[in-house]
């Protein structure tokens, strides 16, 4: 079993030519923690992971792994292992060759290599594939082999760069569970890059949501889902996506409320972080599953999307579209009018200009 290591990224900056990709980025990952870097394409997730691995140099800042400054160490000396989206297997070597080659070149004794390869293969259920070439494997099997090649390194930190993105939905779900089980077994530190929010929510101890060169929010899946730090995080996490209603903040008879097109939605019970001024333009966010029937907000059903276990109703509130999750057996008819309740403790209020949570 590898040593337990924490990872500390301190003020790391990376540019490609004139393009700044990461700006003064700080991130502390605890021992045995599973952290997911989540963000849209091109936000610098892979760049950050490659910097931790030592595959690209940082322009400023430091990277510490296991209490050691490894900013200028070679990748092989950092005590890390990495799994790539494209598998990156050595095509002309067998599965066994792929898993053992690095250890062999490092001069490890043969029996020890054999032991590690067999153990990793057993863990990943690829023992019967050991003598095949990558070309003779399915995508899921290839990614298992790639994970196996990482496992034999017996590292303290495992880095995953979108390892499941090339797989179909079913395999993805299967391997996701397997990676989670692996994490529990090894108790190793894992940093996992993805742009799939389901993967992030199911796997992570903590999620770092990234965009525009910085981490937008760092928190547990629950925090990120329930109390998004800004409008971007709110819109990026969750499926179907959160609803947003533009409007204004007002105080009526001493009670805070949200006004849009003549409709007032009470906000008493909302946990403000920074209460806005009376009349300030704000945006109200609410997830489809938090919209309830039977209240004082008038709405009209425009369309219903059955989704198997439940259905998604598209409504219009004032002039704005709003989606609502309903149980599969609820009878809803397009064109019907209904009354809604938007519970204050489930709402999210954002500054219209900065997008910050209020």
């Amino acid at each position: 079993m590898g040593k337990l290591c924490d990872v500390s990224i301190r003020g790391v900056e990376i540019s490609f030519g004139a393009v700044r990709v990461l700006e003064k980025l700080d991130l502390d990952v605890a021992q045995s923690e599973f952290i997911v870097l989540l963000g849209p394409s091109g936000c610098g997730k892979s760049t950050l992971l490659n910097a931790v691995a030592g595959l690209i140099d940082v322009q400023a800042g430091q990277i510490w792994i296991g209490g050691k400054n490894v900013t200028w160490e070679e990748p092989k000396d950092r005590g890390i292992a990495m799994v790539f989206q494209s598998y990156a297997l050595y095509p002309r070597m067998t599965v066994r060759g792929n898993m053992s080659f690095g250890l062999k070149v490092a001069g490890m004794p043969k029996p020890e290599i054999e032991r590690r390869v067999n153990a990793a293969a057993a863990t990943l259920q690829i023992t019967e594939l050991l003598d095949r070439r990558p070309a003779e494997l399915s995508g899921g099997q290839r990614q298992r082999v790639a994970i196996g090649r990482a496992l034999v390194r017996d590292a303290g930190v495992y880095l995953f760069d979108e390892p499941l993105s090339n797989l179909d939905a079913q395999l993805r779900a299967e391997l996701r569970v397997e990676i989670k089980r692996l994490h529990q077994r090894l108790a190793a530190t894992m940093i996992y890059v993805t742009h799939d929010q389901i993967e992030a929510l199911t796997l992570a101890d903590r999620i770092a949501v990234m965009k525009d060169r910085v981490i937008q929010q760092l928190g547990t899946p629950n925090e990120v889902y329930r109390r998004p730090a800004n409008r971007f995080v709110a819109s990026f996490v969750g499926s179907p996506a959160m609803n947003f209603l533009p409007g204004a903040f007002a105080v009526k008879e001493g009670a805070p409320c949200f006004l849009t097109e003549g409709i007032a939605i009470p906000l008493s019970g909302y946990a403000f972080e920074a209460p806005p001024q009376d009349g300030a333009p704000v945006e109200l966010g609410i997830r489809p599953e938090h919209v309830e029937a039977g209240g004082e907000v008038p709405a009209k059903i425009e369309m219903v999307e059955p989704m198997g276990s439940d259905q998604l109703a598209w409504l219009r509130v004032g002039g704005h579209p709003l989606s609502m999750r309903l149980p599969a057996e609820a009878c809803t008819v397009a064109g019907e009018a209904m009354q809604l309740r938007l519970p204050a403790d489930k709402l999210n209020l954002f500054d219209a200009a900065t997008g910050r949570r209020l």
Binding site: M82, F84, A88, P91, F101, G102
Partner: protein
């Protein structure tokens, strides 16, 4: 079944469109080949005749000293040229792939020669290697009066000068093929290898070269055809000399066809070359074919 009829019709049309080309192929290539083989079995000298003499031309070919030298030269030239071109071309491609600073210089020294004919290459190297005004004279003028580099006029060394020139001519092509192969290799494989702690030379040797099998095969086939056809370089550089020391089979054929007026011997030599090439290529084609069929399944 209109679809089937349609397909038959279009296949017929394609066949018709291709038939002139097919006709040319059959008449010109196969016809000429058959005629060559036939003449090699006759006693033809200056003009073709049809006096059948069996394998007598072949017997005298095998006993011909100039032919023996030509074949030996081809073997030496062919193996050295193939190995050196592949190795040099690959190393150049690696150098460029590793973004060495001299990329443009390398490109012009090695890629442009391929756009010249072997005649030009031959003349350039004949001049460079000529002891009285080439490299030897230059180095001597620089103050090394005892410098010797006269391979081109030495019977035992002249074939290697041909190899030099031909490698210089062909290395650029190999480099281009290999570079395309190298650029096609997934970046992530390099990253994975770095994390595995493999030194770059080890990655090239154990991972990259095995991946470039198809590129090596393509380059080797292209090079091999220019080995068999080797003629113009020998003519331009040394004209087969000194003596017959740099003669090659294709030149033997041409000389006996046109200068010496010995059709029988020339066609016997040509047929021998054809049989040798066929003996090498046929098994290879069969193997390729079988592999392609296996890949389809």
């Amino acid at each position: 079944m209109p679809l089937v009829r349609h397909r038959t019709a279009s296949r017929l049309a394609a066949g018709l469109a291709l038939s002139p080309a097919l006709l040319v192929l059959v008449v010109v290539y196969l016809g000429c080949t058959a005629w060559t083989v036939w003449i090699s079995l006759t006693s033809s000298r200056m003009l073709p005749n049809s006096t059948f003499v069996g394998l007598r031309q072949y017997a005298s070919l095998m006993g011909n000293e100039r032919w023996q030298v030509s074949v030996a030269n081809l073997a030496v030239f062919g193996s050295l040229f193939l190995i050196a071109s592949l190795a040099l071309g690959f190393l150049l491609a690696v150098a460029i792939d590793q973004r060495v600073r001299a990329e443009n210089t390398l490109r012009s020294i090695f890629l442009y020669p391929y756009s010249m004919s072997f005649i030009v290459t031959g003349l350039v190297w004949q001049w460079l290697l000529n002891p009285s005004f080439g490299i030897e004279k230059m180095v001597r003028d620089l103050g090394f009066p005892s410098f010797h580099f006269d391979w081109i006029v030495r019977q035992d060394m002249v074939i290697y000068t041909l190899v030099f020139a031909a490698v210089w001519h062909a290395a650029g092509l190999v480099m281009a093929i290999m570079l395309a192969g190298l650029r096609g290799i997934d970046e992530d494989i390099w990253k994975a290898a770095r994390i595995d702690g493999l030194p770059p030379w080890r990655v090239y040797l154990s991972i990259v070269i095995p991946m470039l099998g198809a590129s090596f095969a393509t380059a080797a086939v292209l090079l091999a055809t220019s080995v068999v056809r080797l003629y113009d370089l020998s003519v331009a550089m040394t004209n087969g000399g000194p003596g017959v020391a740099s003669e090659v089979p294709a030149k033997f054929v041409m000389d006996h066809l046109f200068e010496r007026g010995n059709l029988g011997l020339a066609t016997a030599a040509a047929t021998s070359m054809l049989i040798t090439v066929a003996a090498v290529v046929a098994p290879w084609l069969v193997w390729q074919n079988r592999r392609a069929r296996r890949a389809q399944v």
